[in-house]
């Protein structure tokens, strides 16, 4: 009996212990994770009474409400209706109507007339919230003011059918007071709706004062506060504004790998609301910013969109759209405003196209000057397509960020801007870059600090290959005299200490025989005065001064950089290739040119659009003979890029961004090789390796033969840890793990990505392989298959 009791006590104790062991802290996702999908949205039945039906096709019915400039688009696949504005009457109209009611009016009559009104939304803002287009313009004092097509006064707008084509309408907007006229073409089609604003149709005396055009800023907006008529006090209850229910859903912005901004009301301090997300497509145009001399930030620079798009999803796989620019992208900004917004308690997102900006015109050497507008505003046509997605993907594309990525991918493939590639290898590739040298200051001039020689490169890569890193490509940085910072972009001058031309040729040949691709890397855009004459080579800012970027770097020998003119960059690229020809290299690594885009005010203005064409022409020639490796390239170069280096796996981490998603990776999957950022710099932990597998990116490292402290007084002093001997084992470990997972899906399309639980991701591929990634510290069980903590599992492998 006693023994039994003891046994019982022991078993109870054991049980307790085992329970307490299994109770572990739950996984709390941060904004670097993808969270569970939003809740379902209730489908509000659309009442078309006040609307005029314009057109219908298999997928949509299009309506228009003339008084408020609102389009309503009912998706026939789900019955969900999108409105291009919030579709509310001006509060003053409602209040007037309400006041006019006779005292004898019944409660029902009162409620029918005294409908809820928007709280604290003056008519200018309400008009923007309803409008099809809104504008921002500079007034006489050069302050930025707003107006919109649905404004209460001083603006007229008329919708006309063009050429009697029921799919083509035009909204003629006339901002009478400021003398700007804009014609918006509206095309109704099987995918949704698209807008066109032609440059020659932005007219009027005031058109040079136009700062920006915003298209349907409140399409898909969620939130708002309203005042309800209270029968007891016989008036609107001004003291108790009612928050409307938020539509569950999110905005997708192409920030870094992709970010979701869920509709939330954080209710933080009203006086200092959380800032909105603002992205300048293809990066900031440093020729059109306030001053010609700019300084690097004291924090990590924000990522800028490399694709001209954004999307909004409502509910869980119910309704979504993606909007992408097919023209005018280079002047597009993507803005997503949180609920905390100062005047409008809405979450909303919209595209903004910039026409004119203010800058500082310097007139003497001391730097005195005055603010002014560009003499000639930017000229471009806007083409913006909205594709609506419906349902969970069983028919068509799912109404979530995966569907948005697929929609954009399909568009790019249709336009032949992307092509699915069939790779001959069966192991995933890895990128191992080498820093060969950089310069530090000497008593006279500069001294090359040699970090790696071509023999080191060859030996190390041979060793790694023999140790199981099967598929390697590598870029050599700073292989010239002058290293990374002073190496000439136009003609190669080999450094005997690193590699003579014949040694380089020999190494490329030897490694190529082993299947290892070596490419020489060069930045064709960032130039400095120690490297070459700036006159004639550097881009000029709108103020006609050279656009200059200064670093805060006490150790770097060179701290002022300029941007090379595109024509020059392309010339240098061609010179560079001429030199490369005899090396028999298969690929070339191009830095700068693929992700820098500036207007050039040298002589006749070279616009961003013209620069894009020049860059595309240049790259097109290169791509005929070489594979192109490019770091974080912009969309317009994708058709030529073979290896996407330094693919972002995070976003800028705005506080309003709730999730990080591999949107970029979903778009580009299978069309080029994508490499993760260098693992050297806090990207080597197990969660980071899992992220590579989750995001379908391949590992990459940057290496040197010598210890990195030798670079302390060079411009490369932020490479604190690169020595090969320190990294050999890590390279093999990470490669083996990523290869084990991703080799199964080479040449297979990544079809879906789902969040099974917080921290658990399921990726599906078109060969029926599923990879479950478990970021949490607990095991996860899926259909009877156990995924260990911080591990992944491949399902469906033969």
């Amino acid at each position: 009996m006693l023994r039994n009791k003891k046994f019982l006590i022991v078993s109870i104790l054991l049980l307790l212990v085992s329970i307490s062991v299994t109770v572990v802290a739950k996984y709390i996702p941060s904004n670097k994770d993808t969270k569970l999908p939003p809740d379902e949205v209730t489908n509000v039945i659309f009442d078309p009474t006040e609307f005029q039906k314009l057109y219908e096709n298999d997928n949509f019915i299009f309506y228009y409400r003339d008084s408020r400039d609102v389009f309503a688009i009912t998706d026939r696949r789900t019955g969900y209706t999108w409105k291009t504005g919030i579709d509310r009457a001006f509060s003053t109209d409602t209040l007037d109507a309400c006041d006019e009611l006779s005292r004898k009016a019944t409660d029902a009559e009162k409620l029918a007339t005294c409908i809820p009104i928007e709280h604290e939304m003056v008519h200018e803002y309400l008009a923007i919230a309803n409008s099809l287009i809104s504008i921002e313009y500079y007034d006489a004092t050069r302050a930025i003011k707003n107006s919109s097509s649905a404004a209460l006064k001083d603006v007229t707008s008329t919708l006309v059918k063009v050429n009697n084509d029921e799919t083509h309408y035009r909204l003629d907007v006339n901002f009478e007071k400021i003398k700007i006229g804009i014609k918006v073409h509206i095309y109704l089609n099987e995918k949704g709706i698209s807008y066109e604003i032609r440059d020659e149709e932005v007219i009027g005396e005031g058109s040079n004062n136009l700062h920006a055009i915003l298209i349907t800023p409140f399409l898909g907006a969620s939130g708002g506060v309203e005042l309800i008529y209270n029968l007891e006090i016989d008036d609107y209850d001004y003291d108790n504004p009612v928050y409307k229910d938020l539509i569950p859903g999110y905005v997708l912005v192409p920030d870094g790998s992709g970010a979701l901004i869920r509709f939330e009301d954080y209710n933080t301090s009203d006086s200092k609301p959380l800032s909105n997300y603002q992205g300048s497509v293809y990066g900031t145009d440093y020729s059109q910013v306030d001053k010609n001399i700019n300084y690097q930030f004291r924090y990590v620079e924000f990522k800028e969109p490399t694709m001209p798009l954004f999307g909004i999803a409502h509910g869980n796989n119910q309704a979504a759209f993606i909007a992408y620019a097919t023209s005018g992208a280079e002047h597009m900004n993507i803005i997503s405003t949180p609920d905390e917004g100062r005047f409008m308690k809405y979450n909303f997102a919209y595209p903004k196209f910039k026409y004119n900006v203010e800058y500082y015109q310097i007139y003497n050497r001391a730097g005195s000057g005055y603010n002014t507008l560009l003499e000639e505003r930017n000229h471009f046509d806007i083409d913006l397509s909205y594709e609506f997605l419906a349902g969970d993907g069983s028919t068509g594309l799912p109404a979530n960020y995966v569907g948005m990525a697929k929609a954009y991918r399909n568009y790019l493939i249709e336009q032949e801007l992307l092509k699915v590639v069939n790779y001959a290898y069966s192991n995933v590739p890895t990128r191992l870059d080498f820093l060969m040298s950089d310069v530090k200051k000497n008593l006279v001039g500069f001294e090359n600090v040699i970090m790696t020689t071509i023999d080191d490169v060859e030996n190390n890569l041979r060793e790694l290959q023999s140790l199981g890193v099967k598929n390697i490509n590598s870029g050599l940085y700073g292989y010239q005299k002058g290293g990374i910072t002073l190496g000439k972009p136009n003609n190669i001058s080999y450094s005997g200490e690193i590699a003579t031309k014949s040694e380089m040729k020999e190494a490329i040949k030897n490694l190529s025989a082993l299947g290892i691709d070596i490419s020489l890397s060069q930045d064709f855009v960032k130039i400095n005065e120690e490297q070459m004459k700036v006159t004639g080579n550097s881009i000029r800012h709108a103020s006609s001064k050279y656009a200059q970027l200064n670093m805060f770097d006490a150790e770097a020998p060179v701290t002022s950089f300029y941007y090379a003119r595109v024509e020059k960059s392309i010339d240098w690229l061609n010179d560079h290739l001429r030199d490369l020809k005899s090396l028999n290299a298969n690929s070339v690594t191009i830095e700068g040119l693929t992700n820098t885009l500036l207007t050039d005010y040298t002589g006749k203005i070279t616009s961003r659009a013209e620069s894009i064409e020049l860059i595309k022409d240049g790259l097109s020639d290169v791509s005929e003979k070489y594979a192109i490796n490019a770091s974080n390239p912009n969309m317009y170069t994708w058709e030529y890029v073979d290896r996407y280096l330094n693919a972002p796996v995070f976003n800028s981490q705005y506080i309003i961004q709730t999730d990080t998603v591999p949107f970029l990776q979903l778009v580009l999957n299978g069309t080029m090789e994508l490499y993760a950022p260098y693992s050297n710099f806090s990207f080597y932990t197990q969660s980071d390796v899992l992220r590579m597998i989750d995001y379908n990116v391949y590992p990459s490292f940057v290496l040197t033969q010598q210890p990195s402290y030798l670079m302390m007084s060079t411009n490369s002093n932020h490479f604190y840890s690169t020595e090969y001997s320190q990294y050999k084992d890590l390279i093999i470990d990470i490669y083996t793990e990523v290869d084990h997972a991703l080799k199964n899906v080479i040449n297979h399309e990544w079809t879906n990505r789902e969040v099974l639980a917080n921290g658990v991701i399921l990726n599906t591929y078109d060969n029926d392989i599923k990879i479950i990634i478990n970021y949490t510290n607990d095991p996860y069980s899926y259909n009877g298959i156990q995924v260990e903590p911080l591990d992944f599992e491949i399902i469906g492998k033969e």
């Binding site: 933080t268 301090s269 959380l274 004291r298 050497r365 008593l443 805060f552 006490a554 604190y720 320190q726």
Partner: protein
């Protein structure tokens, strides 16, 4: 004192030169949004491997201007939600609010502290009281203004509080230059510590000239405290604003500052938190968090202000702040910081790099040197430029008597004092090991010279060598050059010879002068590590060349101008000759100092100093005698002429500067006119 000077130099470097990033290849791989910064081997503030990565942004607690947080041992975060007049108990691990304390009497709870027993102390400056709640949120005590006569007339508006293990309360608020100490029953025990008035240089100068009455009108207030914290061992820490050096203080029982030589910091410290192992985390209002070892050694800082020049809206990004009001650390080492402007809480996850540094520091403190070395080496793998790792490896190697390895690491970390110690040991060992050889060599040399003398007597060969040597040195220009050594020992006679044109030549003087420049250059860059305070890459050759030649030639010219109107007999050539020929002692000194600096440690530095001062004086005397002789001056006239020469030199420099500035203005004026004309024509 020495440490203070060093500190000044390093801080001077830091905040004048802020290093951020470089170029060409982007290395923003990690999710870091701000850079982790540290001091490099030259004492400059530079980027380093990420120590912390932004983790969670807690935005949905609907906070309103939260002013303080505290994290207890079970990872419950207590938030003083000041604007909402409440205290929240938030579970970090489940992301849930566990308890909310709202009490009518709470007006603006802005300081919070939780004891090991779970008692929650809240400082409320509007309610002018300290509230003590039990762990389940019930009010236990309310401490109001102490009644002690010594506290009478003093304002009691507590806004921050720390409590030690016996319940003593350390309070900041109301009195801004002192920390109020209350017993566990709320009785006033006096001021635990107070800030003194720090006099700046200008203050001291003013003190010298001002009358007592004027001094009374000067408003000099001591730096004011901004926060107080008590760690688990009962040690009190405070933060002070408006003082960079003494912004973080660790107090002993008597209230004195343990970090008496100051810390590397900024002048806007708002909060301090200390974890179980004694690592100190200090938040700066502008958005950075500085981390120190328990002895106050600066490890790194992270986080940043989201302020962006030229932008009206500053983006809210995880890891950047508008203003930080409080910082705390949980049991896993995650750092939590509060932005009171934007009302959210941000956590930072320590990276491998940070965790390894902390564990290696702890091992060193516990005298586990070999284990510590292993971990420091892992730290180096993550950052080969890490000064703290190299430095600590050096110290560890010193402790296990691996002096040569220690030297290598001190060399990289730029730690000259410890390098010197290690070098002393190495040299000592070398000397001891090789003493026998040295003695043998000395004896052998002695014997050899003895034998040679004997041989010379029998078969004279010495004179042959002598004549051969003198043949070479008899060439005119060599004789002219070597004449400087004669000047060194017999200045008066030699200068007379020079004056008469019998000895010395312009060619010889020019060669001496030019050669001297190169020796000076070698002296500037070629000294041994511990005596070479500036690296080659940081030298500006132009300044050296310009400075050297301008200064010396200016002296010659000015002296000529001054003496030619003062009955001086020497022409410009003679003055140049006298100057060049006076340099011999400096020749000897610079060469020997540069050579000796490679084998001497700091223990023998007086030796080098003596050589230097001796040489300077000698050369000075030579020049003095030279001027006297060449110009045929009396001593009085010589002194006069040297003083006037010096004044004249200053005047010439000023005049040249004025001309340059005016020329620039003139050029600007014309450029403006031309540019305006162009604008008018083109428009």
């Amino acid at each position: 004192m020495n440490a203070k000077i060093k500190f000044f130099i390093s801080t001077l470097f830091i905040f004048t030169v802020f290093l951020i990033t470089s170029i060409t290849i982007s290395v923003e791989a990690s999710p870091a949004t701000s850079y982790t910064m540290t001091l490099n081997s030259k004492g400059r503030y530079v980027r380093t491997q990420d120590a912390y990565l932004p983790d969670r942004s807690v935005v949905d607690l609907k906070l309103n201007k939260p002013e303080d947080i505290y994290i207890d041992a079970n990872d419950f975060m207590f938030i003083a939600d000041t604007g909402n007049k409440r205290i929240l108990k938030y579970n970090i691990n489940t992301d849930e609010v566990d308890m909310e304390i709202t009490l009518k009497e709470l007006k603006s709870p802005d300081g919070i502290f939780v004891t090991k027993e779970g008692d929650i102390y809240v400082a409320d400056h509007t309610a002018k009281a300290i509230f003590r709640f039990s762990s389940d949120g019930l009010l236990k005590n309310k401490y109001e203004k102490p009644t002690a006569p010594s506290f009478e007339g003093t304002v009691f508006e507590p806004s921050k509080i720390g409590v030690d293990n016996s319940g003593n309360m350390f309070i900041y608020g109301g009195v801004y230059d002192g920390i109020i100490h209350l017993s566990n029953s709320g009785e006033f025990q006096g001021y635990f510590t107070s800030n003194r008035i720090e006099l700046s240089l200008s203050d001291r100068v003013r003190d010298m000239f001002y009358t007592e009455k004027q001094k009374l009108n000067l408003s000099r207030n001591p730096a004011i405290f901004s926060n107080v914290f008590v760690d688990s061992k009962g040690i009190v820490y405070t933060t002070t604003t408006n003082s960079e050096m003494y912004s973080i203080k660790k107090h002993n029982i008597a209230g004195l500052n343990n970090f008496s030589s100051g810390v590397v910091s900024q002048s806007d410290a708002t909060d301090v938190y200390v974890d179980e192992s004694g690592i100190i985390y200090a938040a700066m209002s502008s958005g950075s968090i500085f981390v120190y070892s328990q002895s106050g050694e600066f490890i790194y800082s992270f986080g940043a202000s989201n302020f962006r020049v030229g932008s009206e809206i500053n983006e809210d990004i995880s890891g950047l702040f508008t203003t930080i009001s409080a910082v705390a650390v949980d049991s896993k080492g995650f750092v939590w910081a509060v932005d009171d402007s934007k009302s959210f809480i941000q956590s930072f996850k320590p990276t491998d790099y940070a965790e390894k540094i902390y564990s290696a520091l702890a091992l060193y403190t516990n005298r586990k040197y070999n284990e510590s070395i292993k971990i420091w080496q892992e730290v180096l793998r993550l950052n080969q430029m890490s000064v703290i790792a190299h430095n600590n490896l050096g110290k560890n190697y010193m402790s296990i008597e691996e002096y040569e390895l220690a030297m290598d690491h001190f060399l990289i970390s730029g730690n000259r004092a410890d390098f010197s110690e290690a070098f002393w040991e190495v040299r000592n060992i070398d000397l001891q090991q090789n003493l026998s050889y040295i003695i043998i060599i000395l004896i052998a040399l002695f014997v050899l010279s003895f034998i040679l003398k004997k041989v010379d007597k029998k078969h004279p060969f010495k004179y042959k060598i002598k004549t051969y040597v003198s043949k070479i040195f008899n060439r005119k220009f060599l004789r002219d050059i070597f004449y400087m050594f004669r000047v060194m020992t017999h200045p008066l006679d030699s200068f007379y010879e020079i004056k008469k044109g019998r000895k010395g030549s312009l060619l010889g003087a020019t060669i001496i002068y030019t050669l001297f420049f190169f020796i000076f250059l070698w002296y500037t860059i070629g000294k041994g590590f511990i005596y070479q305070f500036i690296a080659v890459e940081d030298l500006d050759l132009n300044t050296i060349v310009f400075g050297f030649f301008a200064l010396t030639l200016l002296f010659v010219i000015c002296n000529y101008l001054v003496t030619s109107i003062n009955e001086g007999e020497g022409g410009i050539k003679k003055i140049f000759l006298l100057f060049a020929y006076s340099l011999a002692p400096m020749y000897v000194a610079f060469i020997s100092i540069t050579l000796l600096s490679h084998i001497l440690t700091y223990n023998e530095s007086f030796f080098l100093d003596i050589i230097k001062y001796f040489a300077f004086t000698w050369t000075g005397v030579n020049i003095f005698l030279g001027i006297q002789e060449i110009h045929n001056y009396s001593i009085r006239n010589t002194i006069k002429s040297i003083i006037i020469t010096a004044i004249f030199m200053i005047i010439i420099v000023v005049v040249i500067l004025i001309i340059i500035i005016m020329w620039d203005q003139l050029a600007n004026f014309f450029i403006e006119i031309i540019m305006e004309a162009i604008r008018n024509v083109t428009k």
